[in-house]
Symmetry: C2
Subunit: 192 residues, 2 copies
DNA sequence: TTTTTATTGACCAAAGTGGTCTAATAGGAA
DNA sequence: TTCCTATTAGACCACTTTGGTCAATAAAAA
C-alpha cells in the first residue's frame, strides 16, 4: 500500500533524501499513481504528517483515561495504548518518531497542529495527577521527569532488543511482566 | 577539516546516502584530496569508525575512575568526562551516536572492536560498585537500569533543548546544578 | 455502447554519483 | 636558480537517480 511504503521511506531517509521511485517500487505500483493521488512529493509528505497526527490523537492520546490519578498507573495505561496503536500502525509510528524530534523536518503550515498535539499529550499525561502519592522529600516535577525518562528508556531498550523480530507472532506477556516489575520499583522508590 | 566534514555528512545521512561531493564541499577542499588521502568512500568510513572508537576509549571510557564505588557518583563523574570529550569532538560524538545503535551500519571487520568497546564500557560503569548503598527492597540490577535510563533521558532532553545554541560560548554551570539536583532525587529514591 | 476513472511505465531534462587524471603549484633541497 | 617531489584543485567521466509528465490503456460505471 502506498502510504506504508511512503511512511517507511520517509522515516528512513527524511524528506529530501527519500525517493519517490523507491516508494512506488516498494508499494508495487506504477509511477503515475503516486502523482495521480498526490500533487507532488511535498504534498504526499504533508498528507502523511497530517494523517499521522490524527492517528496519534485519536488512537492514542484521546484514549488515555485522565480519571486515573495515580501517575505511574496512568503511564502504564498509556504504554499499553501506545503499544496497541504501534502494533496497528507500525510504519506510521516509526515515521512519527523521526519527524517529531526534528523541528526542521516539519513544514511551517503544520507546526501549529504539532504544537496542539504536544499540548494535548502533556495534558493527558500530567493533568489531574494525585501528587500526594509521592514521597514529600522530593520535588514532584522532578519525580515526573525521572519516571518518564525511566519508562522511555525501557521502551527504547525494548525497541532495540526486538529489532528485526516478527512482532505479529510474538508473545508480549513476559515483556509486560518485566515492565510491571520496573514499575513496581519506581513505585517503591518515588511514592511514600 | 576533512574529518569533521566527513563525520558530519556520515552522521546525518548514513554510509550509502552520504555524498563525497558534499564532504569535500563542506571541507572546502578539492575532490582529489579525499581520494589522495583515502582509498575510497568505504576506506574513509572505516577510518572514521576506527578513529571514533579510539577516541571514545582513550578520552572517555579509560578516564572513568573505577575506584569510585558509589554508582550515582560514578555516573556523575562519567557524565562530566563524556561532556568534556563531546565538547572537544562534537562531530565525532554525533557520528558515534548514529552508528553505535545500528548493527548494520558497521563493517564486519570492525565489529570485534566495537564489541570490545562495549565490554569496556560496561566494565567501567558497573564493576566494583558498592551495592550495599541501595535500598534492600529493590533489585539492584533494576535500580542500575532505572538510574541509567533517567540520566540518559536527562541528557537527551538537554541535547534537544540546546539544539542550535552556540555550545562554545555557553555557561554550563546552571545545567550542571540542575543535573545534580536530579541526582539528589535519585539518591534519595534508590539508596537507603 | 459510451463515458469516466484508474493505472501503467516509457520518457525527460536535470542533477548527482564515486572516482580518475592532468595540470598547476608550493616548498624545500641542491 | 633549478629541480624535484609532495600537495592540491577541479574538469571530466560514464553511469545512476531525480521528481515529474503524458499518452496509452484497462476497468468500471453509465
Amino acid at each position: 500500500m502506498i502510504l506504508n511504503a511512503a511512511f517507511h521511506e520517509f522515516a528512513e531517509k527524511g524528506f529530501e533524501q527519500a525517493s519517490t521511485n523507491a516508494i512506488v517500487k516498494e508499494a508495487g505500483i506504477g509511477k503515475g499513481m503516486l502523482f495521480y493521488y498526490f500533487k507532488n512529493k511535498q504534498g504526499l509528505y504533508e498528507y502523511l504528517i497530517e494523517y499521522t497526527l490524527d492517528v496519534i490523537i485519536h488512537d492514542y492520546l484521546e484514549q488515555i483515561d485522565t480519571e486515573e490519578r495515580d501517575f505511574i498507573e496512568r503511564f502504564k495505561q498509556a504504554s499499553r495504548l501506545k503499544m496497541k496503536a504501534f502494533l496497528e500502525y507500525p510504519a506510521l509510528f516509526r515515521f512519527a518518531g523521526t519527524f517529531m524530534l526534528d523541528e526542521a523536518s516539519i513544514p511551517e503550515k503544520l507546526k501549529p497542529r504539532l504544537e496542539k498535539l504536544q499540548q494535548l499529550g502533556y495534558a493527558m499525561m500530567y493533568e489531574n495527577i494525585d501528587t500526594s502519592l509521592f514521597r514529600d522529600d522530593v520535588d514532584v516535577e522532578k519525580a515526573f521527569q525521572l519516571i518518564r525518562w525511566s519508562i522511555e528508556g525501557y521502551q527504547n531498550e525494548l525497541k532495540q532488543r526486538l529489532q528485526g523480530e516478527n512482532l505479529a507472532a510474538m508473545d508480549f506477556d513476559p515483556l509486560w511482566e518485566e515492565f510491571y516489575e520496573y514499575l513496581e520499583v519506581l513505585r517503591k522508590s518515588f511514592y511514600s
